[in-house]
Symmetry: C2
């Protein structure tokens, strides 16, 4: 495979001294470089308001790299890589500063042969998205004539359909849609990409991928951590906007969409959009009884005391922000009919895991085996993170018994062996943006469909006060989340 | 589960000093006793022509037990168990000796309270089956009045349909069909019993268990050993009668039969018979091109020299006995249509394994993934022995590639962990005979259907001389066996 990126370019990171740059972006670039995949003519410019020179900046990044790179840092490789790093000090709110940046970048083109190609990475608060793009337009830094300029935007993209729509309109005035890369780092995860291969590269899986064989599909993305140091952001977004609107719905779309006509960006997006639009069938009335929100109270994680959400640093003691959400959704199309999709995500939960569990229909109610006990439906589990793998649970004979049943599991673990060193999501995503491959990025139409569904939920919630806190740390969330399933004769498969 | 057998009984082993008794029968009885499953009133009588007393006999058995039991022998358990063992010297060809045996057994009834119940185990050459049963009849040792008498017969049951038919008629005059237990020790293997649970205890498996989803089914039972010390027997039977007629067809029937109405002996047998009768569709003309026979030549197993079959001790240097057979069979029923079942069995092969591989239909010929390579059909493999387990091979994304495909495997291994100590086939089978459960024994109708099919093959073979030897040791058999599959666009899945 040709993995090397040929198009020369300068990547500009707004928010170049931020956490994401240190933890994810620079390690991703280093790994791409280490594997020989970056273009020969390439540089990365960290943009920040802090006063520092390139050498100080590099020194800080090197320290982070030692911590976060999946490769051990080799001094000779770092030396070569660090030559590609620059720092540029400016205030992103001050329009005139963009002119200086432009001159700085143009000079790099001269030295490096980067030909005016730019990848702007907005690793800043969403409130700056519009301002930055407008300034890039004003100084003709995104003309897309004779060279290319692309924009990578981190989530959240808007706060609801209206604000997302406004933002989309504004940045579309500067960048054509095909040059806007809305990143959802979940889509860069190996097992999430694997979902397409598992579904469409295996005749058998696709054969039973519908409601005739499947009883329900459960998607869980749970964290053990609390709100950590993102109080402001989280208070405004909550689990609904932080997780459900993007990661969870994207994962759901990949699991539930129809087979695309081809494995390319447009075909896959078309199918995802088509699926996301089916969610509009879950109108206000239906949704009302099918969504559970939660907020963690005080308690313990293992043996360590854990604060209630409302007591966390920077959080209002009366906050009604949800740290947990569970939903039962219906697609109502030919493939899925009224089969429920159960989604849940939360903080301070018992396990850190992102996984999809497919529960197959049970046998007809026949007491087929003499010593009938422990019979369980067949489960296909696709683990996204931190464990990556696929397993299938089925009933087998308990050895030594007449016809006693036991539940056993076939397992494939992708990241169990030490040799495995899967690329990080950001490596794949940055490389794809440099290659102009939109497959793993979210299109505007997907964003639009997601928000109209999410707005429904937010509107309902506004009408009534939640009883928070309603779940203890180190649990699987509020009991209503279990009730949501038991009402349908189902249960969460937690292990 | 109630596993203890309650009905008191004396088990009489004709061939009590033979290899099977030492290696399998006594260890099986010891293990049943050790686990507390034998009846309180129970004894086993070894019948032999050699002159020895009970104490000598016990001593010999103890030595074998140390070698062959899956439990470590505890002296206090052995002491208790050995009290149940007796030896009886007689010539089985001398009618009058049966009278002595009868008296001996009746005396045991007095001492032990075994109430006249008998389990006669014929672990002798098949030529003695008729004679022994006739003598048992003559001395009214199988009256089945006020007490029960059952017969366990080891294979082979006849040499063809005619001789099997004759034998069946003769022993049926003495024992009612329901008291005749034709043993096929393969049916006692854990994973073979598991076949029923896997197929009918899992909604998903049964859903795709037909020719709409399955491309072909491959059943392999291969050995690495040569003919060993069974020259006389093997020269007369060959792989056709030694393996295909019984073990392989039984395994095939369990894999391919329709779901039985209940999990009981009669229902299961009915379905097996129904399936075995479909094999008559493979008439002489069809079979001709669909059967491959082989005989191993001289060569090496690993680095050790190995004799040709014709050079083995006791084998004719011009022998045309087959040590390998491969067959392509069609069931021609609704479930399987013209889907091929491929069966093969042989000696001196590369691997010791008994397994079933289910190859699913491939994807339509679409170049779905950009870096299409290494795409493989989905395979479900059920391993019977020596490894016991189930695995499923499927295509997944090769980590770190764009859309590169790799073939990965989910695996469940039943006997990988040291704790696992599955009962031996003979434990289960003897216990079932003592309990009067015929489920895992072969009915006359099954034998009849098997032989009529096997006779077809033998008849064709008689008409032409094979070109033997035609395969080297430590291989997968003659090249014609591969051609049999490649002619259909298939291949053996060897690993």
């Amino acid at each position: 495979m040709e993995r090397k990126i040929v198009s020369p370019c300068v990547m500009i990171i707004f928010g170049g001294t931020g956490d994401l740059t240190h933890r994810k972006l620079i390690p991703a670039l280093y790994n791409l470089f280490y594997e020989g995949n970056l273009p020969d003519s390439f540089a990365v410019v960290g943009v920040g308001r802090k006063d520092k020179n390139a050498s100080e900046y590099k020194h800080e990044l090197q320290a982070s790299l030692e911590k976060y790179s999946r490769y051990k840092i080799k001094p000779e490789v770092w030396e070569q890589f660090s030559k590609k790093i620059q720092y540029y000090k400016m205030e992103i709110t001050v329009s005139e500063h963009y002119e200086g940046l432009k001159v700085f970048l143009n000079e790099m083109d001269e030295t490096l042969g980067t030909q005016g190609n730019r990848l702007y990475y907005l690793s800043v608060a969403p409130s700056f998205f519009e301002m930055i793009t407008k300034n890039l337009a004003q100084y003709k830094m995104a003309e897309n004539v004779d060279s290319w300029q692309r924009l990578i935007i981190e989530k959240p993209f808007g706060h609801n359909l209206e604000t997302a729509n406004y933002l989309n309109t504004e940045i579309s005035k500067v960048f054509p849609q095909e040059n806007i890369f809305r990143i959802d780092h979940y889509l860069g995860k190996e097992m999430l990409q694997n979902m397409l291969v598992i579904r469409f590269g295996n005749a058998l899986f696709e054969s039973f991928w519908n409601s005739r064989y499947i009883e329900n599909i459960q998607i869980t993305s749970s964290e053990t951590v609390g709100v950590e140091n993102r109080a402001d952001y989280y208070e405004a977004s909550g689990a609904l906007r932080d997780m459900l609107q993007n990661h969870m719905l994207q994962l759901l779309a990949l699991v539930a969409m129809e087979p695309p006509a081809a494995i390319d960006a447009k075909s896959i997006r078309d199918e995802k959009i088509k699926f996301l639009r089916t969610l509009s069938k879950n109108n206000a009335e239906i949704i009302k009884g099918n969504i559970v929100r939660g907020q963690y109270g005080e308690g313990k994680m293992g043996s360590k005391p854990a604060l209630a959400y409302r007591s966390e640093n920077g959080i209002s003691p009366k906050s009604n922000t949800e740290t947990f959400i569970a939903a039962k959704l219906i697609a109502g199309n030919f493939r899925w009919g009224n089969m429920p999709f159960y989604l849940r995500t939360g903080k301070r939960m018992k396990q850190k895991t992102t996984k999809v569990v497919i529960e197959f229909k049970s046998l007809p109610e026949i007491l087929y085996f003499k010593e009938y006990n422990g019979m369980q439906p067949n489960l296909l589990e696709i683990r996204i993170q931190p464990s990556e793998g696929v397993s299938f649970s089925f009933n087998a004979k308990r050895p030594g018994t007449q016809n006693g049943i036991t539940n056993v599991m076939m397992d494939f673990c992708q990241n169990c062996s030490l040799e495995n060193n899967s690329p990080e999501a950001y490596e794949r995503l940055i490389a794809d943006a440099l290659k102009n491959d939109q497959t793993l990025f979210t299109s505007w139409d997907e964003i639009e469909a997601s928000w109209s569904f999410i707005d429904n939920i937010a509107n309902i919630w506004r009408q009534e006060q939640p009883q928070f806190p309603n779940y203890a740390p180190d649990t699987y969330g509020p009991s209503d989340s279990d009730v949501l399933l038991t009402n349908n004769g189902h249960k969460w498969w937690n292990t």
